[in-house]
């Protein structure tokens, strides 16, 4: 039988498939057996209660979607009292995604969610850093380093940094996160995009712009996951556009230790469990005993360093 066990630093997962933050909630238990997942990853929460962005909050683009949900949040207290206990019914590691608009606020919520029942913290650093010029922490190595250092000081739990594709410095940002003490990287969040209704001439999202997710994002996030795996020594968790088992295998070969499935769950709520079964079947067919054998097995021998680390298409 195939061994799907996956280690993300000190954390051991029964398998490498988990949901992406914001595309998963307690509600999915109605359709899917939540015990099958490698981990549970919650929607990003903030310390304060927040309303989220104006509607419409999603729109469709060819073969993918945009969202500008924002981070509606019932606040940390509600979360600790209601959400953590829900997930603790399951024997699956719980990863809590957090965010804030300044490094200090970020550290505070990090400390507050470091409670029993939480197994790792995912820092959604793709949100605007309002103390600086409003660009997301994850867009620059310096701001990434600063915020991750603060978070590292605020919690002893495994700390994952979720990177953004909205940068020309993927590798520098990845290395900054590692240096500041991140235990893993999640690669990546959504890509800033836009769509306009040609009849009303209004932006299709209430918030004007939003993040691209789904199959269109895959080749971009895969490239980032590959670059990150090549440049850091901590595990990389691939995320972006996964909808088939081939996509998952591609991420693993590129160097990801595990993957997060987001938008695909909206199209097929059973996607994660189906993909898990297909991954097992794929490994069996290929006579691969251990899923970890795939990780980083890309045959890129000929590629010069300069190519691996390039940040633009020539």
């Amino acid at each position: 039988m195939v061994n799907l066990t996956t280690k993300i630093g000190s954390l051991t997962l029964a398998n490498p498939i988990m949901p992406a933050s914001g595309t998963f909630s307690e509600d999915l238990f109605e359709v899917l057996d939540l015990n099958q997942l490698g981990a549970h990853v919650t929607k990003t929460i903030t310390e304060e209660i927040r309303g989220g962005n104006p509607t419409p909050r999603v729109c469709e683009v060819r073969g993918s979607m945009l969202n500008s949900i924002g981070i509606p949040s019932k606040g940390i207290d509600y979360f600790i009292d209601n959400v953590i206990p829900f997930y603790n019914q399951y024997d699956v590691p719980l990863v809590v995604s957090i965010s804030a608009q300044t490094a200090d606020d970020f550290a505070r919520i990090c400390e507050r969610v470091s409670v029993p029942g939480v197994d790792a913290i995912e820092a959604n650093i793709s949100c605007p850093n309002i103390k600086e010029d409003g660009k997301a922490f994850a867009m620059r190595p310096s701001t990434t380093h600063a915020v991750m250092t603060k978070l590292r000081g605020a919690s002893d739990l495994p700390l994952w940094a979720k990177l953004s594709p909205n940068t020309g410095e993927t590798i520098e940002v990845a290395m900054a996160a590692e240096e500041a003490g991140a235990d893993a990287l999640v690669v990546s969040n959504t890509l800033l995009s836009m769509a306009i209704d040609i009849h009303s001439r209004k932006p299709k999202l209430g918030n004007l712009m939003g993040g691209l997710s789904g199959p269109s994002l895959k080749p971009i996030a895969l490239r980032m996951a590959y670059q990150c795996a090549k440049s850091v020594n901590i595990p990389v968790i691939g995320c972006g556009g996964i909808s088939t088992v081939e996509d998952i295998v591609e991420y693993l070969i590129a160097g990801a230790t595990a993957v997060q499935v987001g938008t695909a769950t909206f199209i097929n709520p059973n996607a994660m469990v189906t993909l898990l079964a297909e991954l097992e079947a794929f490994l069996q067919n290929q006579n691969i005993q251990n899923v970890s054998e795939l990780v980083g097995s890309v045959r890129d021998e000929d590629a010069a360093d300069a190519v691996v680390f390039m940040e633009t298409a020539p």
Binding site: M1, D33, R57, I267
Partner: protein
Amino acid sequence: MSILERLNAGEVSSATGETHEADTRVKSNTPVNGEYRLLVLDAPQSILNCQPGQFFHLLCPVTSAHQPYLRRPMSIYGYSAEKGELQFLYKLTGEGTRALAELKVGDTLNVLGPLGVGFTIEPEWQNLLLLARGVGLATLAPLAQEAKRLGRKLTAICSARSQDVLMSIDYFESMGAEVITLTDAEGTSDMDSMRRVIETKISEGVVDAMYTCGSNRMLKLLQEIGATHNIPGEIALEQQMACGLGMCQCCVRSFNRKGLITQERVCREGPVFGIQEAMAW
């Protein structure tokens, strides 16, 4: 046992057993009039425990001409566990509904549902009134079936551009409802006419609860009438949806709950809400 084996053995499955992703087979898919089509599906029993007002999330087919990505929410127009049948009445709008229209007899359609919270019919609501226009009929139609099953009296006020685009009149009548038709062509569908018709019914004492769907103007009208005459009511609302299950929080609308403005998910807390808490938009 491997996951694959457990999946096949049915051991890995829905925890509640209420909501399912299921493949259905197209029995028919025919035009009702210029813009509307009726889709009849052969559906498994597992998804036929439906309530009027609930909806399904349809995975529209992908073709060279149409490539919808997200699922599309559709109210249940008809359901029958006996016949193993599920029906949707839909309006040709864009990519998704045009793709639906391409479905041929025998094709497969993947659906997710039933979803959301449907209409309430309290035991003391013996006389029901529904107010529908356009595709709103699709959402309100199953109320007639339920009213009949529960032995309640139903008045259906159906509004449309003209008599020839009025749909489902026969259906409502076959369910024993009294049908009142209002059309733009005859000048009987404006808000004042509607109000008069409804208030006449109220004065006849045959309105314990009112139901409507979709339109802002009808919402406001029923809110006023309901407040004046102290008659409860419900409205089914629409909002852009991604997941349909409550996960993504894209489908929120504002509601006035005990003086506080709250955001509720149409797919989860709705699509049916109390008429007085719903907010015009």
